[in-house]
Amino acid sequence: MRSCSAECELLTPGSLEAVLCLLHDEPGLWTPIAGGTEIMVLYGAGKLTERKFVSIAVPELREITEDGGWISVGGGCSFTQIRRHVGIQKHFPMLAQCASWLGGIANQNRGTIGGNLANASPAADSPPALFAYGAELELISARGKRRIPYEEFHLGYKKTALALDELIGTVLLPKRFDDSLRYVRKVGTRNAQAISKICMAATATVKHGHVEEIRIGMGSVAPTPLRLAATERALMGTELTDAAILNVVIWEARRALASETAPIDDIRSTAAYRTLVAGNLLEEMLRTFAGAAR
């Protein structure tokens, strides 16, 4: 333990309203802490610069509700809750899958989806599935609520659309992907408790052999989790069922992918490996989709 606990304050207001008031009254002064799986690691290593924390582990943020065409996941829901939720398993199986890839069981019990997104690691496990499922976020503050597409959340490395007094209140998932083709894969340093070298999720609709809609999310290939907009554009309308054409499509898609990703060398992998494997995953996805469309 390299930090001195006596130097830190941690408030537990206990209700969402009280948390939001605190954040509103002294914006930027209080750092929210949810499951602690990120902040407490930095704290233990003596790498936290912040000294004042507010616990946002409040019951109001821990609900998963289903109504009409949406499933709403409270920002404070743990990955265990997400994995076990029948509606998510049914309508958003890739999100349940990504939740199962996060840390070990104990970390899934504590880690929250809001924390995962707000922490904004490019290697986070849940973002690719959220891109693929067209998720939206409801950001809340004492000032009120606002709703944004998840694509607009990440602004740069560890920079998000959250204002100083805002929290991720709800992650909203539209139930319109039940019939879509899907592809999800994590490439980590090992099978469990692994930080992603690459994580990818995609949904697609293919009609008469042609891509009608496609959404692809990828992690660890850019300063933020990424929706592969250029790759999606390159793939829209293309034909997947003809083997010869498919090879061209794959090549075009790899080129588009390379144009919008910028992986780096770090302690877990190399830029060269990430570039190569990202392309391989894209190809595997397309061959899977092509196989399903035939």
Partner: protein
Amino acid sequence: MQSERVVGQPVFRKEGLAKVLGAARYIDDLSMPGMIYGATVRSAIPRGRVLGIEFSPGIPWDEFTIVTAKDIPGKNYIAMINNDWPCLVDGVVNHPQEPILLLAHPDRHLLPQAVAAVHVRYEEMSSVHSIEESERGRTIIWGEDNVLKSYLLEKGDVDAAFAQPDIIIVVGEYTTGAQEHLYIENNGAIAMYDEHAGVTLWGSLQCPFYAHKSLMAVTGLPEDKVRVIQVETGGAFGGKEDYPSMIGAHAALLAMKSGRPVKIVYDRAEDMAATTKRHPSRTRHRTAVTKDGKLLAADIELCLDGGAYSTLSSTVLSRATIHSGGAYFWPNIRVRSKAYATNTPPHGAFRGFGAPQALFATERHMDRVAKAVGLTPEEFRRRNLLLTGETTSTGQVIRQQIDLQGWMERALDCANYREKKARFDRENPDGVRKKGIGFAVFLHGSGFTGSGERYLNSLVGVDATAEGRIRVLVSSTEFGQGTNTILCQIAAETLGVDYDVVEMAPPDTGIVPNSGPTVASRTAMVVGRLVQSAALGLKQTLIASGLLGERYLTEEFQAAAKAHIGKHGGLCSMSRYQAPPDVYWDDQTYRGEAYAAYAWAVYVAEVTVEVTTYSVAVDDFVALQEVGRVLNPVLATGQVEGGVAQGIGYALYEKVSWDRGLMKNNQMTNYIIPTSQDLPKIRVYFEEVPFEHGAYGAKGIGELPMDGPAPAILNAIAHATGEDFNAIPLLPEDIAERLAAGAPAAQEMATV
């Protein structure tokens, strides 16, 4: 051989109950009245001169106990082979994370800030960070040529063999990386000083008398004023052989200066960055073989990266040198080996102790030699494996009845090797999942090398307490491998009493004799044998005294022991090591009986290489070994499984990332060991050929399972991919780099 009541039975681990209850007390669980906490200021550069040490304001320095090299009352070294490893830097830094200054304070939370507030000014000097750089010798950091130690082992006439006509010559270079022990309990120690009693040290450690020797040197205190007590130790694997002497000396220095008990417990980051690792290696093989696949000669050049001080490198290099020939008959062999100095924290003991490096090279190379002569790996090995009566690389005659060919066949059958190999060959061309199967045949010498056991001159005791309990007196320690259990089994068996009435005397240098260090797969075979003879002496004493008949129950034995103690004041039997007869070893020429016995093994690995991600999964693992008599089947199986898991990590996951001698990935998150979801079913089989000089026929088992997994796995990967990978750890990034030349992207680019 199956007639024993206790030996060979799966009796429960002696300290198992305390462990499953969470009641076992490890070093960080202990506290002493008035105890304060110590921390270490370490070097930030790989090599240079210390110009000055400054203490930043804002820290209440007067509350701290501060120790530098000048405060050392005795000698400034950790007592090892050459005594060249400083306890604290005195002017010159030779590696990152070298201890320079010690701090102690009653509030452990203040220490990290205080450590950060000590600023050391250096004049940096050029440094050396690889075997190649050290070999090149542009910068000399050790002696005249950077060579910490070298050996030459020669048998037959190697040059003449290579000059023969009609032979095939196969060359290869093989490298292995550093490996972190990653025992789950970090290093830690508590020291207490008292003018009358001297220094007492409690520690998480393997070798109480090693720490004892270093404490005598550093404190300048006589033998009877230094006492070392091992506490429950949460894993070691060789990593707590040498470094505990360092941390123990630091705690003792702080305790002497402060007059209070001092606890030093490293956190994970410090433990990983500062303490020892397995020696990285580079081995070059040049092999002469006849066209019908008989080995004629080996010319092997093996180099280890020893780190900044000589520490244990000479003995690690020795074991590597001797194991280089593997389990084969070589009419001619030459091994030239060197340990090079680099500006890295000293590499040290790690399960296998040089053998895993040497055998990785040999067993990878043998697959390549087989291919070169057009034989299958198994047929090629069948023609060359050692037979009873043949001689090893050091000229040692194999007297034991071994059947390596038969054991190889059994292991291959258990793995369904031939059927799978054929199937994989058929199916691989179509899939993105390439399957492969490979194996390794190897050996591991039990006990200290050469004359080592004779120098150790181990002493062991068995005694009885006034309550009629039997105690085993040894300095051999428990750190998970089962020392407590098997030694109590041996004593119970010999005495003819229940296992439950036998216990271990505390591992305290003030109580137990020096039975040597707990290393080198020597505990079961060497120390166990001494326990057996000491126990026999105790029994004979009771029988001779007329207190005990030839046949008795446990209670009768205990009653007799109590009666003897009542009459004579005590009951203890000691036994000292005696070398087995007709054992000859020459330290100069490296000829003779290198080890009293060898354990043998055949390991088979089945893998899948997935060419989308270039990742490797081990799907099945067969571990067959001959270790003499198996004293406790549950413990022995656990030893093998654990060793195989570490071997899988060594081959596929565990990479130390270095930055000028500093470990960069010194976190559990970034140094990757297998989890419960990364291992295949490990199937363990034993052959038992009792060794007449081991306890109830036992040989060594602890290190053997570390030697085989890496070459077996890389041989399987070669089968799966058709590519020779000759370096470990082998990560997906390395496989990608090799296979990417033919990757789909490049191909398709050409066709579009």
